[in-house]
Subunit: 358 residues, 2 copies
């Protein structure tokens, strides 16, 4: 995403973006329903301002169909089930298809047992954690998501080998008056895309962003490009990214480290990605409506606090994205034209009718 | 802990430290069994090198008995139970007593349902997350711990009010050849104790450690003392500490923000602290013995990687503490004499026999 200049922009309604994207994935070999699932997921990320995880990835995902890395017709299924737990095998379908199914399974378990844990294997890049957390939250539950990322850009703390992803994770809860609180974050200090851009523009980078191939902090974007992105909070971010991999990939015997094909570089290789979802039905612990009231009070309390010098507002996790989404619903999503052009070229390749173009 | 100089040290065996501590808590009003639970918990922290959460807190905890803030005879109980979930009310007992009971309940649920979630209210400062995670790990489970901390030292991102703790959290898994992997970390960039020490010694602090009362980053330890400790990773650490509070304190309608009495400053006030424990029985997902083998392989892979300049070894989460614990079992715990002197003074006050003294 950081490759885009944002110099020229065009507004597209959420509905139009979804119709386009669904038609594109259908043309690329997916069933209609799955194509719609993917479309809603990606356009939701764009509406929330998280363009890095939206339709700008269409070309990448579809290339993986073309090269055989991901199956457009994979059907996720429950491979194993025991009481409040399940293992979902994604059958190498797109992560969005696998994970909507898996979170629905977790919610089903949560309704029955008060809590549910679903481990997922045979999956692919799933977009944003926030989407699945929101599914749980919409069901009156607390949602937790852990995942391995689909490319290695980080090293273990004290190492230099690029064997860890900036594995994201998140959790969320429902509110009433306020937008639901959804935390979704990666464990790197910065997106690798920012280093790619700095390298292209010959701009130095902050010293804490990356290490070179010998593990030395560097301000040289080219050296950083060949090295590793730093975890956030030093060894603490490394700990977190390692644990996220353990509870997803190692738990389910899925790809990890040098066994993980790269999302971008290996479009012909099956990734066998993994995730872990768990939910807690709030009603099992306390009345969910009373909880929502407490959340509203808590958010008011936080937001009404005295502001630091240089700040006009205090936000809670996911609030900025929720504000962005509200605006996008009213005014459409403001896309950099590069994203639209790239998608229209894909649409031409796949013979989409002209009236669907963005 | 950072108040201690570590200039003079004395070695104490784990057994002696446990016997002393159990006798002290019994003399201060606890039942024998509960006193032993607390003793094992605190001495374990010391053995792992986490002195900040060990017996140096005895004077604080016992002061809370004396002033009425914590009940030496509280009996935690299951207040509510639904399938794989439970709410434990701590009855204002010491956090170590409450939480060992609560994690045992979670493990019981995990054995029956494959997963279990226990929300805890009416609790107190519980020591280290690692202890409870280890309970789950010893039962062949993945353990997750979230908690609110018992004192506010941080502000919301963009704010200045000291209304958030550096709420710690953690997770862990069992291994075979290697020590179990246990992550346990707080969400502040640094322990507040380090700012206290810098203030005493008139030493400047790094600019990212703290903000002053107006929310400006400061290198002046005195200004930092009256301000707030910064979250790790900027707004990401704030997000995490906020969510940890939500899934513990807000979920269970326990103390949060300006309603939370301070662990140190308000020894006469009931804290009504909260935690959330979650476990997954690995056998529900895959054979736990196969998982342990995969963990060993994963750790070997990480540790055998190329080292960064300036590093001799790569560690996995909790490994340094496990190494420390192994050494303490063989050679005893090396305590700064200040900790021992303070405890011996307490022992004198509570009439402990001379042969128990440290």
């Amino acid at each position: 995403m950081s490759d885009y200049t944002f110099n020229e922009k065009r507004s597209v309604s959420i509905g139009d973006a979804e119709r386009f994207t669904a038609a594109l994935y259908e043309a690329a070999g997916m069933g209609r329903e799955d194509a719609e699932t993917v479309a809603k997921n990606l356009v939701e990320a764009d509406a929330r301002g998280v363009y890095s995880h939206g339709i700008q990835r269409n070309s990448l995902y579809i290339k993986r169909f073309e090269k055989g890395g991901t199956s457009p017709t994979g059907r996720p299924f429950v491979e194993r089930e025991f009481a409040a737990t399940a293992v979902v095998n994604g059958d190498n379908a797109m992560g969005m298809v696998v994970c909507e199914y898996a979170m629905n399974k977790a919610i089903e378990l949560g309704k029955k047992y008060g809590t549910g844990a679903v481990a997922i294997t045979g999956s692919n890049h799933f977009g944003t954690c926030a989407h699945y957390i929101q599914q749980a939250v919409d069901a009156g539950m607390i949602g937790f998501v852990y995942t391995i990322n689909c490319g290695n850009i980080m090293a273990p703390w004290g190492g230099v080998d690029r064997v860890l992803g900036n594995n994201p994770f998140g959790m969320g809860v429902p509110c009433r008056k306020h937008a639901d609180v959804i935390m979704d974050m990666a464990t790197s200090i910065v997106a690798r895309g920012k280093i790619v851009v700095a390298r292209k523009t010959h701009t130095p980078i902050p010293a804490d962003w990356a290490i070179d191939t010998e593990g030395r902090p560097t301000t040289d974007a080219d050296k950083a490009y060949w090295g590793c992105v730093q975890p956030f909070a030093g060894y603490k971010g490394y700990n977190l990214t390692f644990m996220n991999a353990v509870v997803s990939a190692i738990l389910t015997n899925s790809s990890f480290g040098d066994k993980l094909p790269d999302l971008y570089e290996d479009p012909d290789k099956v990734q066998n990605s993994a995730h872990l979802f768990f939910v807690i039905d709030i009603n099992a612990i306390d009345d969910v409506e009373a909880f929502k009231d407490r959340m509203d009070e808590t958010i008011d309390f936080i937001k009404n606090g005295k502001k630091a010098v240089g700040f006009d507002e205090i936000f809670v996790p996911g609030e900025i994205e929720a504000n962005c989404q509200k605006k996008a619903r009213e005014e459409g999503i403001v896309y950099p034209v590069e994203i639209l052009d790239e998608n229209n070229a894909l649409a031409e390749k796949y013979g989409l009718p002209a009236e669907l173009r963005l």
